[in-house]
């Protein structure tokens, strides 16, 4: 997992050398801007790989074998790109991603926004590992939402797609309220500070000509703060990867696939295994 890319900061917020310290997988690292370039180094001053994508800075303690995953929608004209600041959460980075993949909690955690009783049913949807891209995908996910987005007026059934291209990053596509033929894109980039603390960097690529940037960020921050109340109260803090520790249902197919995918790749930073 050390060889994966991880988000570590907002691209427009990296000071000049000596820069700023942060933590990646328990290791102190430093980010700084030098000669117009964003750079990163570890505690010994060793250079770390850096890539800037989707308004964020990504690095790795190892050697990434691939460039950062593609979000084709990030190239589409007419979209607004909204980095939503960050939310620090005292939970496993993997639990934060799993929560992002979950829709069944909407009526209870994001009440009257992303869900509301009695509209609690999660219909059957499709999940698979796309072998070529090596990504977890869930499609044909449908859910009734009272206020699906800042620009939404009234309740509607929303369709979602989810993808997991990296162990601590996920991108979702959902029905765009103002442009039904297009998808809004919302991503969560999670920085693992330690196995039980992380920073979530939400990012969006929307068709929304009316809402102010501040309102869009505020909406997304509200959603993530509601999630934090859950994430900091899950026991154990680490994500159990072996079946039997927790009881899933059909609504959890994405979470089940995510856990299997993590385990098959030995992506276990922030996870709990049987042997423990």
């Amino acid at each position: 997992m050390k060889d994966c890319w991880f988000p570590v900061g907002a691209a427009d917020d990296i000071p000049s050398a000596p820069g700023r310290e942060t933590l990646l997988m328990g290791e102190p690292i430093r980010l700084f801007r030098k000669a117009g370039q964003i750079q990163a180094c570890d505690a010994e001053g060793r250079d770390l790989p850096v890539t800037v994508a989707y308004d964020h800075v990504w690095t790795s303690l190892g050697t990434p074998s691939q460039p950062i995953f593609a979000i084709p929608e990030a190239e589409e004209p007419g979209r607004r790109f909204v980095p939503c600041g960050h939310v620090r959460v005292a939970c496993s980075p993997l639990r934060a991603v799993e929560n992002f993949l979950d829709i069944a909690h909407f009526p209870f955690v994001h009440t009257d926004i992303l869900g509301a009783e009695p509209h609690t049913e999660v219909y059957r949807y499709e999940v698979k590992i796309r072998e070529e891209e090596d990504e977890v995908w869930a499609t044909k996910v449908r859910f009734y939402q009272p206020q699906a987005a800042k620009a939404a007026e009234g309740g509607q059934e929303i369709e979602y797609m989810y993808r997991v291209p990296l162990p601590t990053a996920s991108v979702l596509y959902k029905t765009c309220p103002s442009k039904p033929e297009a998808w809004d894109v919302i991503a969560i980039f999670v920085q693992p500070l330690t196995e039980t603390t992380c920073v979530a960097w939400p990012w969006m690529a929307l068709y929304d000509d009316t809402s102010s940037q501040a309102d869009l960020v505020g909406f997304q921050q509200m959603i993530f703060l509601q999630d934090r109340a859950i994430l900091e109260n899950q026991v154990p803090a680490l994500l159990p990867l072996d079946p039997g520790k927790e009881i899933p249902t059909r609504a959890d197919m994405t979470s089940i696939a995510y856990r299997r995918w993590l385990k098959s790749h030995d992506y276990t930073y922030g996870a709990q295994l049987e042997a423990q």
Binding site: D102, A104, V122, A229, N233, Q234, V235, P240, I247, A251
Partner: protein, 212 residues
């Protein structure tokens, strides 16, 4: 969880732990408590009945003490899984037509309420100590371990000290709850005075170098 409270030396083998005063748990509410190092969700249904369970939803590990009570069911805050007073899952809102599998249940402790005090026990054998006509005053947490306090206060179940009757509930990490009772029939002024004595006691314990 490292601290395991000692068994009272008077030797009542079935151990009941006082975890709350009845008045501090209103109908249709849930709170987290700790007994013998185990985190429990203590809750009261609308009917007034009590339950004490492992504080963890079997689905995704969410603390059930953060949940919400409707009628005599406790719902997990995360996905609304609904459990009856026996700890059996009765409803999974994501699948409204589904009858939840019988295997989905939360491990429960015994819980009982007597003379204004709520007690829990893992085994449930025997009865909790009888506090007779003593009147519950209030509960308060001290930053000292149960063992350290007992070295100072003595080892009974109900400890008489400075005009107060104290029940001890050991917590992990060197903390302990004192559930204070008074003699019966105290008026408001008497209760205020007793409450001040209890706070003074906490300050004295926490300031004392003898009580580590």
């Amino acid at each position: 969880m490292t601290d395991t409270p000692r068994t009272p030396s008077q030797g009542t083998p079935p151990q009941w732990t006082p975890v709350a005063l009845s008045r501090d748990l209103a109908p249709a509410t849930a709170i987290p408590v700790i007994a013998e190092g185990t985190e429990l969700a203590l809750w009261r249904g609308r009917s007034g009945r009590l339950a004490a369970w492992h504080d963890r939803c079997p689905h995704r590990g969410m603390r059930l003490s953060q949940g919400f009570v409707r009628d005599d069911m406790l719902s997990c805050l995360y996905h609304g899984w609904r459990y009856d007073l026996e700890g059996q899952c009765r409803k999974i809102p994501a699948h409204p037509e589904l009858e939840p599998n019988k295997a989905i249940c939360v491990p429960a402790w015994s819980v009982t309420e007597a003379t204004g005090i709520i007690w829990v026990s893992e085994t449930g054998s025997g009865a909790p100590p009888d506090t007779g006509a003593l009147a519950p005053l209030r509960s308060l947490t001290v930053e000292r371990s149960e063992d350290a306090l007992r070295d100072h206060l003595g080892d009974g179940v109900v400890i008489e000290f400075d005009g107060l009757h104290l029940l001890l509930q050991g917590l992990p990490q060197g903390r302990c709850v004192l559930h204070a009772l008074t003699g019966p029939g105290l008026d408001a002024a008497g209760q205020r005075a007793a409450s001040h004595r209890l706070e003074a006691l906490r300050t004295r314990f926490e300031d004392s170098e003898d009580i580590a």
